[in-house]
């Protein structure tokens, strides 16, 4: 195997749809089309998002390290997401605001719509509008958009550390996070107190 495969354009487009099928299926099955679940992490009531997200990152990252070390996958031919430090920091922060307000992100809004949520469709329309709005104001923000370009830089390149050591650090950090989340979930300390506070609010209101 010499991956990435060099498929014809049409075969590559068919594979895009097939990969999307699995992507959507796993998102929905993880409950990631449900805005209450999606925002739950920010209220310490549901940790499905970080659990699914960091599990996915660890699985894919481990696969990349194994396959590229075995010379089965040539990562120099895979599109690495380039870094634009400040635009991605500001973009990520703005994204967090939009996520809390709408209850979705782009992929999960589509999954939410698939499960019959009309509010997810409204969010999708908003995302389309926001994308076009960006294009409309682009001449005024082009300077900022292009600042702090660092190219397709990875953490192993940036830190000079071996990718297995970085991966091990990630496993330890994510493992500690998962442990803390399970502990929160089982103890129900925060969740229970929050529910009772909400009930009191409803009674007094």
């Amino acid at each position: 195997m010499n991956a990435p495969l060099l498929l014809s354009d049409s075969a590559n487009l068919i594979m895009a749809a097939v990969l999307g099928l699995f992507f959507g299926f796993f998102l929905e099955r993880g409950g990631l089309g449900n805005p209450h679940r999606l925002t739950g992490v920010f209220y310490f009531s549901d940790f499905a998002v970080p659990k699914a997200m960091f599990t996915a990152i660890l699985v894919a990252a481990t696969g990349v390290c194994v396959l590229s070390d075995l010379k089965l996958l040539d990562m120099s031919r895979v599109w690495i997401i380039p870094t634009f430090f400040w635009p991605q920091l500001v973009g990520g922060a703005l994204f967090g605001l939009g996520y809390v307000v709408s209850g979705y992100c782009p992929g999960t809004a589509v999954a939410g719509f698939a499960s019959g949520r009309i509010d997810a469709l409204v969010t999708m329309i908003g995302i389309g509008f926001g994308s076009v709005l960006f294009a409309a104001v682009f001449p005024w923000i082009e300077g900022f958009y292009k600042t702090s370009s660092m190219g397709q830089i990875t953490l192993p390149e940036l830190t000079g550390m071996n990718h297995w050591i970085l991966l091990a650090i990630l496993f330890v950090l994510a493992g500690a996070m998962f442990y803390a989340m399970e502990h929160f979930g089982r103890g129900k300390g925060l969740r229970a107190s929050r529910t009772s506070v909400d009930k009191q609010v409803h009674v007094t209101a």
């Binding site: 993880g30 409204v122 294009a135």
Partner: protein
């Protein structure tokens, strides 16, 4: 609240991770989502206002070909069908306007559209979203992915207090 029969998020995460790995191996790129919205909305705008759309230099790479020849647009079309299959298999389909208790439909429309607008704008600025930058970049151990993930969660926790009433 109706009892949901979702999978464990860890199991869902393993599935997502393997799908992402398959995308690297098969297509030489990760999974995306927000690009499809730029392609879709850009194509819609082009159909309604072709002259104006032609002046938007930023959109031109997104309008080079038909949406149905765009990798991410097709991937997100597949996502819609895959999620629908998941909902049907678990008999979870329910037409609803999902929102927190005490949130009116008018308010929910506003938060869904307004939040969506911010997401659309932010995704363009960051060169992608939770799929294209956070998941894909994160698993490539790319700096971009981790900058985005940290900024998104930090900001989410910061703003969550302000918008608590929307989701309680």
């Amino acid at each position: 609240m109706k009892k949901e029969n979702y999978w464990s998020p860890y199991l869902s995460g393993v599935g997502l991770g393997l799908t992402l790995l398959a995308a690297f191996v098969i297509a030489g790129q990760g999974l995306g989502a927000s690009r499809a919205f730029a392609v879709g909305a850009g194509s819609g705008l082009k159909a309604i206002l072709p002259m104006y759309t032609a002046t938007l230099a930023y959109l031109s790479p997104y309008l080079e070909r038909s949406p149905f020849a765009d990798w991410t647009f097709l991937e997100v079309s597949g996502l819609l069908i895959g999620a629908f299959a998941g909902v049907l298999l678990s008999r979870g389909f329910r037409l609803q306007f999902d929102r927190g208790t005490g949130v009116s439909i008018g308010m929910r429309t506003l938060t869904a559209f307004g939040g969506g607008t911010i997401i659309g704008f932010a995704s363009r600025l960051a060169r992608g979203c939770t799929s294209g930058v956070a998941l894909t970049g994160g698993s490539q151990l790319a700096l971009s992915g981790w900058v985005f993930v940290i900024a998104m969660f930090a900001s989410g926790f910061l703003f969550a207090a302000m918008f608590r009433r929307l989701w309680s």
